[in-house]
């Protein structure tokens, strides 16, 4: 029930936003996320955008992981 799915905001009008879930369009409420703007990625739960998805932060996590992998070569255990 706490499932939330990322979507991109295409259009906002008042409390409502049209979003794109990888090809499927839907209207969701942005009432719980007033700072949301067109072009943002948001997490959608039960018809509400509940949080922004920070793309930069995501890329940073991945980059950090890759660097760690480079520094410490690992041995597969299987």
């Amino acid at each position: 029930m706490c499932l939330a799915v990322p979507a991109k905001i295409l259009h906002i009008e008042g409390h409502e936003a049209e979003v794109d879930f990888g090809g499927i369009r839907r209207t969701v409420s942005v009432q719980l996320l007033p700072q949301a703007r067109v072009g943002d990625y948001v997490l959608v739960h039960t018809g509400f955008a509940i949080g922004l998805v920070d793309e930069e932060e995501a890329l940073e996590t991945l980059e950090l992981l890759r660097q760690m992998g480079d520094l410490e070569p690992w041995e597969p255990t299987a």
Binding site: L3, S29, T46, L65, M68
Partner: protein
């Protein structure tokens, strides 16, 4: 970059293997971590993450399934509500198959009750608008992730001047259940995998009581395999170093302070109340009741419900599963009389239930037996 390709990178097998190797190298002493959230339980089982762990690392499912922790009495009241004249009972899909003492919502519907599955509480408000002659009740089941949206639906009904919309609030706060598990002392935990989407709302800082009061680390996690492995690696590393901190490993979706606007709306409509949890009993200050100002939209206030002698399904160990005291296969009914097609308890019904996760992905366990290395 679109979200799909970004998410794809959190499923990168190379990164996953690297993290698994690091977990194996770091986990020298036995340690047990609980994933609070049922969504994590499903991801962990689906991706076979338990089988990738070294024998020192044990993962345990927690109480993070809102449908599962709903008490039998509340389920029975919800079914009674559906049977009142003029009522359209709206709910998320999981609830309709949960066995009450006498029947399920689905069975009540087969006998004439008007039960409708909705995607959003706003759909229920729309239904109330379209059917002024009926009384529309929404079953408010969920944690902090869900409650703000339900609160918003009440504010919307108020703005529209609707008098035929009401919510039966069974919403619950997650931290009290985590505290209860640790206070009961039935199981020993070395760390907690913090719920990702609950934390989108309440913030990762809301979990600081775990290191402060219980001396154990908590890492807030996303739901992709790399997210979960990264979380476990951080937990293992903290235990190995003798540390206990809050770490947010889901920074792309969770802020330390959470979502202020959502919390404000939630707190405007709900106040803190005691709540009855399956497996726990009444936990003080763990539930969300509708404030007196919004009494018009409170089904508990608007409707007189019969006293029902509630009884949990005989033999069902769901409550023990929710406290992490047993694993689903230890329930004598698991996979025999209780399956997702014939669920005896809510833990087998819900998409977030531990019993359903164990049942659905049991082939993963069989196909890839633990390597024990």
């Amino acid at each position: 970059m679109n979200t799909e390709s970004l998410l794809q990178r959190f499923r990168d097998p190379q990164l996953a293997r690297q993290l698994v190797a690091e977990i194996h190298a770091l986990a020298r002493s036995p340690m047990t971590f609980m994933e609070f959230c049922g969504g994590h339980t499903h991801a962990i089982m689906q991706f076979g993450i338990r089988q990738l762990m070294p024998p020192t690392v044990r993962l345990l499912s927690g109480p993070g399934c809102p449908v599962c922790v709903t008490s039998q009495a509340d389920i029975d009241q919800a079914i009674a509500l559906a049977q009142l004249p003029d009522v359209i009972l709206t709910t998320f899909g999981d609830m309709v198959r949960v066995p009450g003492t006498q029947n399920t919502l689905q069975e009540a519907a087969a006998h004439g009750a008007d039960v409708r599955i909705v995607y959003s509480p706003l759909d229920a408000v729309r239904l109330a608008q379209d059917h002024p002659e009926r009384r529309v009740v929404f079953l408010g089941v969920g944690f902090e992730t869900t409650a703000p949206g339900v609160a918003a639906s009440i504010l919307q009904a108020e703005a529209l001047g609707l008098e035929n919309y009401a919510v039966f609030s069974m919403h619950k706060y997650t931290p009290p259940a985590m505290r209860a598990i640790l206070d009961m002392g039935e199981i020993r935990l070395n760390g907690v995998i913090g719920p990702g989407h609950v934390s989108t709302i309440i913030g990762s800082d809301a979990w600081s009581f775990l290191p402060e009061d219980y001396g154990i680390p908590v890492v807030v996690s996303g739901f992709e395999p790399v997210d979960i492995l990264l979380t476990i690696r951080e937990l293992v590393a903290q235990v190995a170093r003798g540390e206990a901190k809050v770490v947010n490993a889901y920074g792309r979706a969770v802020l330390p302070q959470g979502n202020r606007a959502a919390l404000d709306i939630m707190n405007r409509v709900f106040h803190v109340a005691d709540a009855d949890w399956r497996g726990f009993g009444v936990l003080p200050a763990s539930g969300m009741a509708i404030r007196p100002e919004y009494r018009l939209f409170d089904a508990a206030h608007r409707f007189t419900l019969p006293e029902i002698p509630s009884r949990e399904p005989p033999g069902c160990r769901c409550g023990d599963v929710l406290r992490g005291v047993i694993e689903p296969p230890e329930c004598p009914l698991f996979g025999k009389v209780c399956t997702p097609d014939t669920p005896k308890g809510p833990c087998m019904v819900s998409d977030e239930g531990a019993c359903s996760a164990h049942y659905l992905y049991r082939s993963v366990e069989i196909a890839e037996p633990a390597s024990n290395s």
